[in-house]
Symmetry: D2
Subunit: 303 residues, 4 copies
């Protein structure tokens, strides 16, 4: 099918490539034209220089897939495309948007007769090769229209229509990421317990990952990746203990709070990431000062 | 190779079956002879009626694999076998023993010249079909002697020699279970957030598991099993919110505490299980009473 | 000084009473006039029947203190009073408002030349007797104008000017409540550990509170209240294990998330309250189902 | 009454001083005689040079109070005194012993007819002035015999007889400390949220402590001490973010685990202390490496 891919970062570029390699007709656009051109040269497709050119090049009903960094830039593009698209066209936001943002976008689009889909996309750097796992929300008819492209971008069985409510795709993807934070933390704590034990000297963590991934209850893709990391740098000696977060984990905790849903482990996994960036923790200095006050316990002083 | 399997519960019976189906010579023993006999009829092998008969039937150097419920019964059998085995024989504890118990057992065995191995075994009800993931600790020579049997019981690449220190196999298995608790809790919280959201009515959790397992970052075997559970009973309506624990999770937290290793997510996953069994929580009643005391907030009263 | 108290619920009524008992001139207003009348009869002051009457009765520069339930009703009253007040008047929101709501209110008021103060008030049912602890934010001049009334409502040393930034008073109060949740949970867990121990039969919790409150490190007012609750109902047998939350705890966790500040204990205390209301927890049923899937562990079934 | 105080560290010395200042007859002993002598000079009492001299100097039934660092040294002294004391004498362990250690000590003492009491003592550096809060376990008759001394050492109403079961005093003290960890963490997190907010520049934390301690729900002695610490060093700039733990917190978590009692907040407060000492956290490096593996997210490298 014909589809426009707007934004050719790590994700968008590889999604476009999967589409092109499987016979779809891709109209590509990126803010800097070099990336658009590079894609056209390497994988084919039409390299548009402007949003107008994108829309002109598409036959109605048009499908435009936004693959932009979350935030204001998505709203900006939604507005621009709503000024260019026609009734019956489809606009998909495949970025990491907060699901709360989808309802207003959907409503704005609906006023113009444009169908708005929200798409949560997982896959990272492995997506090109293995396919991108996709969660879709919005009008079912629009989903079905885009389904051939989704089927190509996703691995076999790797996509799901989450319902007609705007935001349902981003919502399921958000929860996916919340779970991801906690699973990562689970493995990290486990290996830390191994590392701090008397047994550590005889243990090879990459081999333990390999073994656990063959028949144990905790086998998973994240464990495979963990094993890969240990293989590349067995003691992880070159890596700083500083862990970023990209938004969905925070939104998951806020959703848990908003709906009074207990999510202790997901919340803690997020807090641990904050903690990793909280150098010379003020909280810990307070604890040390309190202990000194009541017990006369020595405090360590900064050197 | 020739090997004795002592204890024919869910795990031991299936481990013996895998050995027999792959040409090993198994001497089986179970406290109630019916199970021993059933195994011999269904899978072959020699059905021993006593520990003495087990030992008589084995050619030196003998290998005896204990697959008993953790606790006193293991020590009892270790003592009994140490009275029957000879120098150079091998005794393996494949049960869910606490790793702290292995050192004294090893030392007792060593006095008699018997080699003691500790084996952590993962696999549950799927082990017969898929193989049992195995973590071994103890003298390397003894491990190498038993390796042909281990290779047969485990899936390809699914076993690991954790080192010569007594307890290292049980230790790595224990940490595996600690991680397992937290991963299970991660998924449980995620689906609970879905369940408590406005999107729940259009979501089919079994299909979400299936989709996430095809290309998403959180794909895993536990997620497959979760999907299987949702397929069998979509709302889990027939299941009580009561979660048992089998020991290794507690030991993992104790080890974290003993070695001052932060393991918030594993600790919380364990606490959540305790909480599931803490009906009419005294802690929560205290909170309700406190709120009433300072704020005049209404308390719910028991009916 | 002269001051209007709008909203005569548990808090507002008692704050007005403290003002009246100490010689201030209070113009009282409540949606249902019965409460206003009752206050006038019991404590004195002027009973206004409408907001217009409130404003007419006050001499400029007027001070109007809103003591309303958080939410839309506050904004409604802010708008109504901004239509009635004059340049130089002061409007105080003493309710449990989210600090994010203060900036827009402040700006609206400033347009009219009205000074907006936000006041976090702690004290609950004990405030009448002991005074209400108060945290104030907004223009310093306005604060200083109202200070005589604040001094009267608060206990000695029990108020603090948190700064000119709109919302600073509600913000400090919000954090206060977050801390409160975690301290309550700390005591609740401690007594639960006593309750689940072999020592419980000889322990009298009310007396333990009394003893800990005389010389121990954990002495506090919340512990006094806890002791009082135990005295009234030693086993807390009549209280349901169901714990409400009133908003500030959630906002504190959201603030922690928004500013990437680790707050594990406060977050957990909130989650525990959610958990207390999550009957037949879906999360726990998932855990039970998972255990059954991989280990064949028996599930409890609902009766 | 006559009582021997064995061990004149921070606690023992001040407990002896309180006894002497209130007319009790104290036989003091310390491993290094200088401290014993200093006490005798400053406060009075008899300075014993050996355990034998202690016992000789006491009139039967003798009361010997051990105030030694927890661990082997206590058992050593228990054994030595049991060799010297006579039937009907009383031996008290007032150190921070694990309650599990009291039963064997009690039994050993009982064989000799010596009454063993376990005493949990709280108070730290403030005990001399304010009294030591005391929790006692063991034979009631023995408790009543020592009560006059306890009454003197404790503040008014500040002691409690926890029951005849050996260890009950240390047990209640242990739970006290677990609660203490969580309360300290609660305040620390709260101030950290203030510190990381846009309001921080106008906030004076020492004054906030002072204000909260006058009428707010979270007023407590620990908050007083926190205020004192902020007064001494407003930004806590001279203190390292490194928090020690002294054992009871760990034992409380282990007890929670042993009795399947959910104690998430206490457990987390302990974990946070471990985390404060876990420089360049291996767990966090694993998380960073995992993110890099699946998402190509940049890792910070050590410089």
């Amino acid at each position: 099918m014909q589809i426009a891919m707007i934004g050719l970062g790590r994700m968008g570029r590889n999604m476009a490539a999967r589409l092109l390699r499987n016979g779809h007709d891709v109209v590509a656009y990126n803010r800097t034209f070099e990336k658009t051109e590079a894609l056209a040269i390497e994988e084919g497709g039409f390299a548009a220089r402007s949003l107008e050119e994108v829309v002109e090049h598409l036959k109605p009903p048009r499908t435009v897939w936004l693959m932009l960094p979350a935030g204001g830039v998505v709203d900006q593009h939604v507005d621009q495309f709503l000024g260019l698209l026609q009734e019956g066209d489809i606009l998909v936001d495949g970025g990491n948007s907060n699901f709360h943002d989808d309802k207003p976008r959907h409503d704005k689009a609906a006023e113009k007769g444009v169908h708005y889909l929200d798409a949560g996309v997982s896959g990272g750097v492995w997506g090109l090769e293995e396919g991108f796992c996709m969660m879709l929300g919005g009008p079912r008819k629009a989903f079905e229209h885009v389904e051939p492209a989704i089927k190509t971008m996703a691995p076999d069985k790797g996509y799901y229509y989450c319902g007609a409510k705007p935001g349902s795709g981003h919502f399921v993807k958000m929860v996916h990421n919340g779970i991801e934070y906690a699973i990562m933390q689970a493995y990290a704590e486990g290996f830390n317990i191994l590392e701090k034990s008397d047994f550590r000297e005889e243990l090879d963590y990459a081999e333990i990952c390999e073994m656990w991934n063959h028949g144990s209850v905790i086998r998973s893709w994240l464990l495979e990746l963990t094993g890969r990391a240990f293989k590349e740098d067995p003691g992880l000696k070159d890596i700083a203990a500083w862990v970023d977060d990209s938004g969905e984990g925070r939104w998951t905790v806020q959703q848990a709070v908003d709906t009074a849903t207990p999510a202790p482990v997901i919340a803690l996994a997020l807090m641990e990431r904050f903690r990793s960036r909280d150098e010379s923790s003020f909280a810990d200095r307070i604890l040390a000062a309190q202990r000194n006050q009541f017990g006369g316990h020595a405090m360590k002083h900064k050197d």
